[in-house]
């Protein structure tokens, strides 16, 4: 693996931060389904926003592996906070940095990199999830302005007081051959006709802000187009490719956290006169967890190395996302088993981990879609 001394320092620092600042509040925020502005700001001060963005836009100019390690360490303690950071960096900041023009980057990136404000990526719609091309939100260019109509659902960081806006995937017309033309458009919070609503009743990521966005003749200047007109699909695909690595990091970190909880519990809990970890059935579960985590970490870090060395990484990113998220499920499930009945109680962190892992096989492309992406790379 390509770990440098600096990566260890990043890991240790984010770990200390997560344990000292996030962990004491994680259970309560989950219980109350409350997004924490305070923790989000502190994550900004830690420099967890804009980690891979150049200094001139206010970022930290770190490599992709550094960012992935940071997300992993957050998820080792609390998936909700990791989700805020992963979505803000990969889905919020990413498209503006990679596809925005100089004016847009200078306008938006600095406040998004300090963590004063959050940004969202609006792709999913009620009737367009995996099939994002089935979306219905439209943007019509009328006398130098985009008029947007439609709605988005399940959008992370879209409705808290800290959210400043979203990059929205729209149908902006028809191509010459009659097919739909997709474009991405920047919509700032406060624009007339744009409203957002927090979604309630989630079983997981309860302290992360998930929202619905509504566009009702929402009008923005023509220059709010992100990238080229008609490039919406390209922006989306490229954003999701990178984003997958951060979901992989969330899977890896969650698995690591769940494994550590199981290991500790197996040493402490006594039945039949000995620590349950002494029973081979439990010891083997924990050995399997450690082995899967090691494999997942290598797959994910290898994909990051491809990104950091400028090589194609789309297939490896899909593999890493698929594998890390499935390892998270398997490890969390077995970790609950190790905890017995206590693992089902909210007083135990593992209960939250067990719920939180479930989205990782669904968000940013379901496991089925990852397999589809991989199979296409394999020429099937």
């Amino acid at each position: 693996m390509h770990i440098k001394e600096e990566h260890n320092l990043i890991r240790q620092s984010v770990r200390d931060f997560a344990e000292q600042v996030i962990h004491p509040k994680a259970q309560e925020l989950d219980e109350k389904a409350q997004f924490s502005e305070d923790i989000t700001r502190q994550m900004g001060e830690m420099g967890l926003m804009g980690m891979v963005i150049p200094k001139k836009y206010g970022g930290q100019e770190m490599d992709y592996l550094s960012y992935i390690i940071a997300v992993e360490e957050l998820a080792r303690i609390d998936s909700s906070q990791a989700a805020t950071i992963a979505a803000h960096n990969s889905l919020g900041i990413g498209p503006i940095y990679y596809f925005g023009n100089e004016i847009q980057k200078e306008k938006y990136l600095p406040q998004l990199c300090t963590g004063e404000k959050l940004w969202a990526f609006g792709l999913t719609e009620p009737n367009a999830g995996s099939d994002s091309r089935g979306s219905k939100t439209t943007a019509n260019l009328e006398s130098g302005k985009w008029v947007i109509n439609g709605s988005k659902i399940f959008i992370t960081n879209g409705s808290s007081k800290m959210s400043a806006g979203a990059s929205v995937q729209t149908i902006s017309g028809r191509k010459e051959d009659g097919r739909k033309e997709y474009s991405c458009i920047i919509v700032e919070k406060g624009t007339k006709g744009f409203t957002s609503r927090t979604m309630k009743g989630k079983m997981l990521w309860r302290a992360s802000d998930t929202s619905e966005l509504f566009f009702d003749n929402c009008t923005v200047p023509e220059e709010n187009l992100l990238g080229q007109r008609g490039n919406g699909s390209k922006i989306m695909l490229s954003t999701l490719d990178r984003g997958r690595l951060s979901i992989g990091a969330m899977g890896l970190g969650l698995a690591q956290g769940a494994y550590e909880l199981a290991l500790k519990y197996a040493k402490e809990r006594h039945q039949f006169g000995q620590a349950i970890g002494k029973f081979q059935a439990i010891a083997f579960k924990i050995s399997d967890m450690a082995t899967k985590i090691e494999a997942a970490r290598r797959l994910l870090y290898h994909a990051c190395w491809l990104v950091d060395t400028g090589q194609p990484f789309s297939k490896e990113a899909a593999m890493a996302k698929l594998y890390c998220s499935e390892v998270a499920r398997e490890v969390a499930d077995e970790a609950v088993q190790v905890h017995g009945g206590y693992g089902l109680m909210k007083d135990y962190d593992i209960e939250r981990f067990y719920r939180d892992q479930r989205i990782l096989q669904i968000g940013e492309g379901t496991s089925e879609i990852q397999r589809l992406v991989i199979s296409r790379h394999l020429g099937i």
């Binding site: 240790q12 620092s13 100019e61």
Partner: protein, 245 residues
């Protein structure tokens, strides 16, 4: 104000302690090393004082190349530059002599360190450095503010607290609550990359102390729970088993 902070590179407090070479050497295998927790308080306060009054913070460690990640962390926390005196820190006196030499060279206004390291816990170095430099030294300092060329401090003493005013320069061994530990942020880690870490030769290599043997404390015995309704049993155990009454 020029501040020097001396830091140790010590095993993490949760490390499993074991020995090798016939119990004469500490087994470093798989051990995570950290900045000495008391030194970390001293460093945090030094960075705060620099932020409030201007000046610079230099960290110094007497150690071999393997301590550099620990030094780099101190730079990420906010020190401006670092000195590594290239020597194995084998006894308090040789460490103090090395520190004193480079502290004199740098003409610092304030020399801070932890009240003790957490490996050998001797708590001798600050006193020795003070003596070698002919400066007053204080420990354990729990509060430290600077006004002009004067420091206001409070120090823990037997049965109470002592409040002091001292003119700079001096040496202080620090402990909590002098400041809160600082976690390096990403910007700190990135700027630490290019901050100078100067490796200098040891001026004092004579070691006067050598370890004959290390021994672990005896394992903790079983805990006995006594029913609160049964104080007679407790008295009996304290009397006849623990033999402490």
């Amino acid at each position: 104000m020029k501040i020097l902070v001396c830091i140790t590179h010590v095993p993490d407090t949760t490390s499993k302690i074991a020995f090798t070479d016939d119990n004469t050497k500490f087994d470093k295998n798989g051990v995570q090393f950290i900045i000495g927790p008391y030194d970390d308080y001293a460093l945090a306060r030094a960075v705060e004082l620099k932020e409030a009054h201007g000046g610079s913070v230099t960290v110094l460690n007497v150690g071999t190349a393997e301590t550099e990640p620990t030094i780099r962390k101190a730079l990420a926390i906010g020190a401006d530059d670092a000195i590594r005196v290239d020597a194995e820190p084998l006894d308090s006196y040789s460490v103090a002599r090395n520190i004193a030499h480079y502290a004199k060279e740098g003409a610092y206004d304030l020399i801070l360190m932890g009240r003790e390291s957490i490996d050998f816990n001797s708590g001798l170095v600050h006193g020795m450095v003070g003596e070698l430099l002919n400066l007053p030294s204080f420990s354990p300092v729990m509060q430290l503010d600077i006004e002009g060329d004067t420091a206001k401090m409070s120090r823990e003493i037997e049965g109470g607290k002592e409040f002091l005013e001292v003119k700079l320069p001096f040496v202080a061994g620090c402990q909590e609550p002098i400041a809160e530990w600082k976690i390096p942020n990403m910007r700190g880690i990135m700027t630490a990359r290019t901050k100078p870490l100067n490796v200098v030769p040891a001026t004092e290599e004579t070691v006067q102390v050598s370890a004959e043997k290390f021994e672990l404390p005896p394992e903790k015995g079983e805990v006995k729970l006594v029913d609160p309704e049964n104080p007679a049993e407790l008295v009996n155990l304290l009397n006849n088993e623990a033999k402490v009454l």
